[in-house]
Subunit: 392 residues, 2 copies
DNA sequence: CAACTTTTGGTTGACCCCCGTCAAAAGTGC
DNA sequence: GCACTTTTGACGGGGGTCAACCAAAAGTTG
């Protein structure tokens, strides 16, 4: 089958070559020529173009292999900046990052999403400007904005659709509003989706199939299949929270159904159960506190939540066959109890072919998955081959 | 965000233009020029190229809009043929189709996959040649071969991996073997995956997210997300059969676990249950027969199987958020009982956002989804932009 | 029915991009 | 210091694309 593809004369712009350099590693002209199949002279021209745009920079000379040592070039992530916004139900985080998603400045504050688009996006604009100022970057250096919202979002338009916990945001033109102030591309997605993206970009770039599970007040997941986020028909894919759990009672859920995973194993559900046993646990954070202080009842409850989540994840493993499952959200910070419960069930319930190379790990981004993902989403758009070619 | 993309100078080959014509509709040169943004002279040159390759043909004149009536051109599916092979556990089907997946000649016969690659692929070669002869097509007209196998397949290499019901096929180089005789690209995939592809191409081309579920002796599914098959890390995605069913007992399953969907709701499981009640049902086909003959016990059992499948599908709807679920396999041919049971549970268990536009339908390909998908898989490869450009 | 309008179809020359080649530059090894 | 290796930038040729022009075909209008 490859004989047909061997010499396909498909012209590639400078943007395609640039993608190879996105990883930050320095490369010589010869490296790029052999990798892209194009002539060295063509590569040289593209290098000049990208250099003058500031997107790449000389990275010294490589060691000689007997002749003149080649000059190397590497991606210059400091050429531009993007704003990464992670809006939760009651908390907002906004970061200014470079094009490698390195955080340059950051703010976070309690902020109720229920205050509505006007107030919240106003806060975003205000603090975005502040971050640009503290990082001493002009508005002309801003290349894009990425936003995560706690509800379903139609990614192509950036409009939330029927979001349960933020009804005032239904069908609001978030990109349009933000573009009134920041005249750059604005990308919007579900908060769990951007966390999946962040974790993937930050720690699992070489893995093509990843499932990110957030266990906090609620439970949700983001699906990366064949290296891209999969959002489903209405942007509602990955909704783990309202899957029924086999053999875990039928606790009523806020969605109106019974026996949903979220009603059984979310941080809130665990807290409620512990509170009923007389412990001082009102929210997810209290559960984490109790576990960390060595409370055995709390540890056992978290482990049981892990088992319940594992029951649902076992089904997801069979369906999606990921290489990695990343467990994030506040409840994942309560030691190894949650993930132990998850592993226990998943490895028992799933078929060998699906589990033999499956890793189940905790988030490695320490709560920054959201902003990292929002940043990555914006950067991906801004540095896409088409955008680069248009930018010259 | 579109301002950056507006005039992206991304050169496109003849193959890209050709993709627009794949739908079979006739188009004028002007249509193609405005659609691709290229000059009419460029389009004219490409038309000539594709015409001389036989891939497109004149399709008469369109009606004049006041001036000279334009000539139209349309995809010529008869330019080449592909072999589509659908191998089941005990049955094989092989078809010769044109580039629009129209069947030109077809053979099917009982054939045990367990006889091993040598015997089975020998049969494929032999009957492939026969079909070419009956359709009066030379070997030079064969453009590709698509094969579906009843087990997990690493699609990139075409090698089955750890297939439970065909152990002799593990890591066999199926494309290599077939290419020894047919010197054309050979694409291989799981049988349920190609059924999903076939159903998508034949009936749901405009839908981006589709889940195809096969209910026969076993239960499996194929996932189409963002318009492409998603196979997971080991090609094992879509394995519905061994998901645990909430609240449906814990019947032992051949996979070694308990309570798997396949052990509860597959055609075999239903047959076994009916047999235990004294009915003459040894295989899935017998169940269908009983239902068609009006047996109420059998109907009820099929409907209950539908409910059990629905329980698992509800979770899949939450995770994948498809627009369409297609139910295929022999048990779907037993009237509306199966799908009624499925609908009953899915629409009750899933969230409104995911179900408001969800359609659950039976297969519209009358058992031909497999060969149609195998054909589509091969055609997609052969007519990809890169392949077309290479072919000139 | 003839002239005009409209639209398509084909051709040509200019331009741009990409590729090969070549000589100069910069190091290495003897 | 010299021969050899490798990289680098420059130059000319070739292929493809575009814009423009002209011719042809059909419909419109008087």
């Amino acid at each position: 089958m490859e004989e047909l593809l061997k010499f396909a004369p498909r012209p590639t712009g400078a943007g395609d070559m640039f993608q190879m350099l996105r990883d930050g590693q320095p490369r010589t002209r010869a490296d790029l020529a052999t990798a892209t199949g194009q002539a060295r002279s063509t590569i040289a021209a593209r290098i000049d173009l990208l250099m003058s745009a500031g997107l790449i920079a000389p990275a010294g000379e490589a060691t000689s292999t007997g002749g003149r040592p080649p000059a190397t070039f590497a991606f210059n992530p400091r050429a531009k900046v993007v704003l990464a916004v992670d809006l939760g139900a009651t908390h907002a985080r906004i970061a200014l990052t470079d094009l490698a998603s390195q955080v340059l400045a950051e703010t976070n504050a309690p902020l109720a999403i229920a205050d509505g688009p006007r107030a919240v996006l106003g806060w975003v604009v205000e603090n975005g400007d502040k971050l640009l100022a503290t990082a001493e970057r002009g508005e002309s250096e801003l290349a894009g904005v990425g936003v995560g919202l706690p509800g379903p979002v139609e990614h192509s338009t950036g409009h939330p659709i029927m979001p349960p916990i933020m009804p005032a945001w239904d069908d609001v033109d978030v990109p349009g509003i933000l573009r009134r102030h920041f005249d750059v591309p604005v990308l919007v997605d579900n908060d769990v989706n951007i966390m999946a993206l962040g974790e993937h970009r930050a720690a699992w770039q070489t893995v093509d199939n990843l499932l990110f599970v957030k266990v906090a007040t609620g439970i949700g997941s983001g699906i990366i299949a064949d290296s891209a986020l999969r959002r489903g028909a209405q942007g509602a894919a990955g909704d783990l929270g309202h899957v029924a759990v086999a053999g875990a009672g039928d606790a009523p859920c806020r969605c109106g159904n019974h026996g949903c995973l979220e009603a059984v194993a979310s941080g809130q559900a665990v807290a409620d159960r512990l509170a009923a046993q007389g412990l001082d646990a009102r929210r997810s954070a209290d559960v984490v506190q109790l576990v960390r202080s060595g409370d055995l009842t709390a540890s056992a409850a978290v482990r049981q939540a892990g088992r319940d989540i594992g029951t649902v994840l076992a089904a997801c493993v069979s369906m999606l066959n990921p290489s990695v499952i990343v467990i994030g959200g506040i409840l994942a910070e309560a030691g190894e109890h949650l993930i132990a419960g998850i592993r226990e069930v998943v490895y028992r319930r799933s078929l060998p072919l699906a589990t033999q190379h499956l890793r189940i790990v905790t988030s490695q981004t320490r709560g920054e998955a959201g902003v990292l993902g929002a940043s990555a989403m914006a950067v991906d758009h801004v540095l896409s081959p088409a955008s680069i070619d248009a930018l010259i």
